[in-house]
């Protein structure tokens, strides 16, 4: 089975992308000199907001050098060291004279010198509007989003599997009542339920986790119940019961391990679902509260500045997209590996 998984190139690639993202999320925030919440200031106490990306190691490529073009500047002031600190001007372009005789130009500056940032300061992905390092925030945000999604799915699995197991195993009245409860919860749209939940408990990471799990466990319960119905009359279960194995042991030791396959696949598929929902809620203003970042809140906060600072939008957008694609491919790969009959693309 493991061999079949690695045979699937897309799934293997997804696994490595995911491993990379998780490693970065775990370690990257600890290895930067900046914190995710501290506003970086220069020697004069001015906040270094919206700094362009600067990655010294990529100097030879000519990208991310920490430069910016300042448009429509009066040429007369270019020599004024109070406005343009020494050595910050790299190139003067597009000189033009207006009708009134004032000369204007666009100036390419080393923005780090222009803002009088301390020597050696380099924000790899720049800073956001409040002068916080985006590299640190991006990976911390990834970590927060992953933690939220994983916890939400874990809770969803624990409740869903136990609920479904009990319903499926005991059947009868237990099953009837259990499934009715599921039906009622399932009837409420997810967005509405999450919204009301967060409004009730206030925004926060814990609330977010609960809000994401509060409806999803129903799906898991249905799946688990179906799995239990499938296995509970099998010979190995009946014989174990004949030998006097207790219900609890039967459920957890005999049936559950056999029923696990589809449940694991559904869990890997629930993770991107949770990441999506978390970003989605951030967009409606119900995300986790500042200063803690998540990729969703970073994306929604930067959205309005797309024209001026596109990288602030594109970076979290790319991370979300990568996470979602990787988890989807991974779960597709797992599904095929567990059950090769499902997909017909096997040659």
């Amino acid at each position: 089975m493991i061999k079949r998984f690695w045979h699937n190139k897309a799934a293997a690639a997804a696994f490595f992308v995911l491993a990379f993202l998780i490693l970065m999320a775990v370690f990257a925030p600890s290895f930067t000199p900046y914190s995710y919440r501290e506003q970086v200031k220069n020697a004069d106490g001015e906040i270094l907001s919206n700094m362009p990306p600067k990655i010294p190691a990529l100097r030879f490529l000519g990208i991310a050098q920490g430069t910016a073009v300042l448009e429509d500047r009066q040429t007369a002031f270019l020599d004024d060291p109070a406005r343009y600190p020494e050595g910050c001007i790299l190139e003067v372009r597009n000189r033009r004279v207006t009708e009134r005789g004032t000369e204007y130009c666009d100036v390419l500056v080393d923005y780090y010198k222009y803002m009088k940032a301390e020597e050696g300061t380099a924000f790899w992905f720049g800073t956001d509007q409040l002068g916080r390092d985006i590299w640190t925030r991006l990976w911390r945000g990834t970590r927060v989003s992953l933690v939220i999604a994983l916890f939400a799915v874990a809770i969803d699995m624990v409740i869903g599997v136990s609920w479904g197991a009990v319903c499926g195993y005991y059947g009868g009245k237990t099953d009837l009542i259990g499934m009715r409860v599921c039906e009622v919860i399932h009837a409420i749209p997810n967005v509405i339920l999450c919204t009301m939940f967060i409004l009730l408990l206030g925004r926060g990471i814990g609330t977010m986790i609960l809000a994401l799990a509060v409806r999803n466990w129903v799906e898991t319960a249905r799946l688990a119940r179906a799995q239990f119905l499938r296995y509970k009359e099998r010979e190995f279960v009946v014989s174990a019961r004949a030998m006097g194995v207790r219900d609890r042991r039967l459920i957890f030791r005999h049936i559950l391990p056999n029923a696990m396959g589809p449940l694991i696949i559904s869990a890997t598929l629930a993770v991107p679902g949770a990441i999506f929902m978390e970003s989605f809620l951030s967009f409606i203003g119900l995300g986790i509260p500042a200063p803690e970042p998540s990729v969703g809140t970073m994306l929604s906060d930067a959205q309005s500045m797309l024209q001026t600072y596109p990288h602030q939008v594109l970076l979290p957008a790319v991370v979300i997209a990568l996470l979602m694609i990787a988890f989807h491919l991974l779960s597709n790969g797992l599904r095929d590996a567990f059950d090769p009959k499902e997909e017909d693309s096997e040659e």
Binding site: A10, V184, P189, I192, L199, S279, F280, I284, D344
Partner: protein, 317 residues
């Protein structure tokens, strides 16, 4: 059928009532008052609260709320966003643009999804299929709001093809062009869903025995697919279209905010933030209602499209 419909309809009303009650309790239990404006004096806040019965115990408020709805169809007025306008007027004004965006996306998604799905099934396991599967995974995984950001940057900002945000004051043509990107952003997901479903269904149907019969009597594969397999495959695909619409509607909650479209979507966020209580409850109710109605339509349409499916029987999945 009639009894089944009645039962489902009753269940739907009950669910709506539960949602309404939950929504009311949640929103009224939130700390803060809609009149927490620093410009208002304490006296004024008190008077405003008394006018809207906000000072009474919550159960009494709930009684007034229900009584107004049941006896007069009166859902309250907007408190902050558009003071004293009845909430359904506020929402009603915004429904057309939201529906336009959503229907347009579905309208684009249907033919494209069907086309891509058929193409992929015809060339199964050849390169068109692989390319389409790759795109399908991409479109299903990447959320619509990320797509919106990418479109906004590349098509709107870099290429300058379409306006970045919706221009409500512009002419008809300007408004239509500014709808292109939001509609596109919302279409990717349904296109991929329809394509994936249709490809799967077609692949199953192409292995069916009637296809061998059709080919044995002289039809080419292509003819057989379009005359026989295609029709049979469309039935199950039709069933996912109504739920897809609910999906698009939820997506447009965010898309409307990104593109500044004055639809119902943006209203939810703004009313929550402004503590515009009655408006929030009504918007929640509006979305819940649409969701429940579409679920009902889907379930009924199973039976209408394919009479072999009996309704009302044990619907265990």
């Amino acid at each position: 059928m009639g009894r089944y419909l009645l039962k489902r309809f009753g269940m739907m009303l009950l669910t709506l009532f539960v949602i309404l009650t939950l929504g009311f309790l949640v929103i009224r239990l939130m700390p803060g008052s809609p009149f927490d404006d620093p410009n208002y004096s304490a006296e004024m806040t008190r008077m405003l609260e008394e006018k809207h019965h906000l000072h009474e115990p919550i159960l009494v408020q709930y009684y007034y709320f229900l009584k107004d709805i049941v006896t007069g169809g009166y859902w309250g007025v907007s408190l902050n966003l558009e003071p004293m306008t009845p909430v359904w007027t506020v929402i009603g004004r915004r429904i057309p643009v939201t529906l336009t965006v959503n229907f347009l996306s579905l309208l684009i998604a249907l033919p494209l999804g069907i086309l891509a799905g058929t193409w992929a099934a015809l060339y199964r396991n050849k390169w068109p299929d692989h390319v389409i599967s790759l795109l399908t995974v991409l479109f299903i995984s990447v959320p619509s709001f990320v797509m919106a950001s990418l479109l906004q940057y590349f098509l709107g900002y870099q290429a300058g093809l379409f306006p970045l945000i919706y221009d409500a004051t512009g002419t008809e043509a300007v408004r239509l062009t500014s709808l292109v990107m939001p509609v596109l952003a919302l279409s990717f997901h349904p296109i991929a869903m329809i394509c994936r479903h249709l490809r799967g269904e077609l692949a199953d149907n192409m292995r069916a025995e009637y296809m061998i019969t059709a080919q044995a009597k002289g039809l080419s594969l292509r003819q057989a697919v379009f005359r026989h397999a295609f029709r049979n495959s469309l039935i199950p695909v039709m069933n996912i279209i109504v739920p897809l619409f609910t999906n698009i509607l939820a997506g447009s909650l965010v898309i409307e905010r990104i593109f500044g479209i004055p639809g119902v979507g943006g209203l939810m966020t703004r009313s929550i933030n402004a503590k515009d209580h009655w408006l929030t409850i009504t918007v929640l109710f509006f979305y819940a209602m649409i969701h429940l109605v579409t679920v009902l339509i889907t379930d009924i349409s199973y039976g209408l499209i394919d009479p072999r499916i009996r309704l009302g029987g044990g619907r265990d999945d």
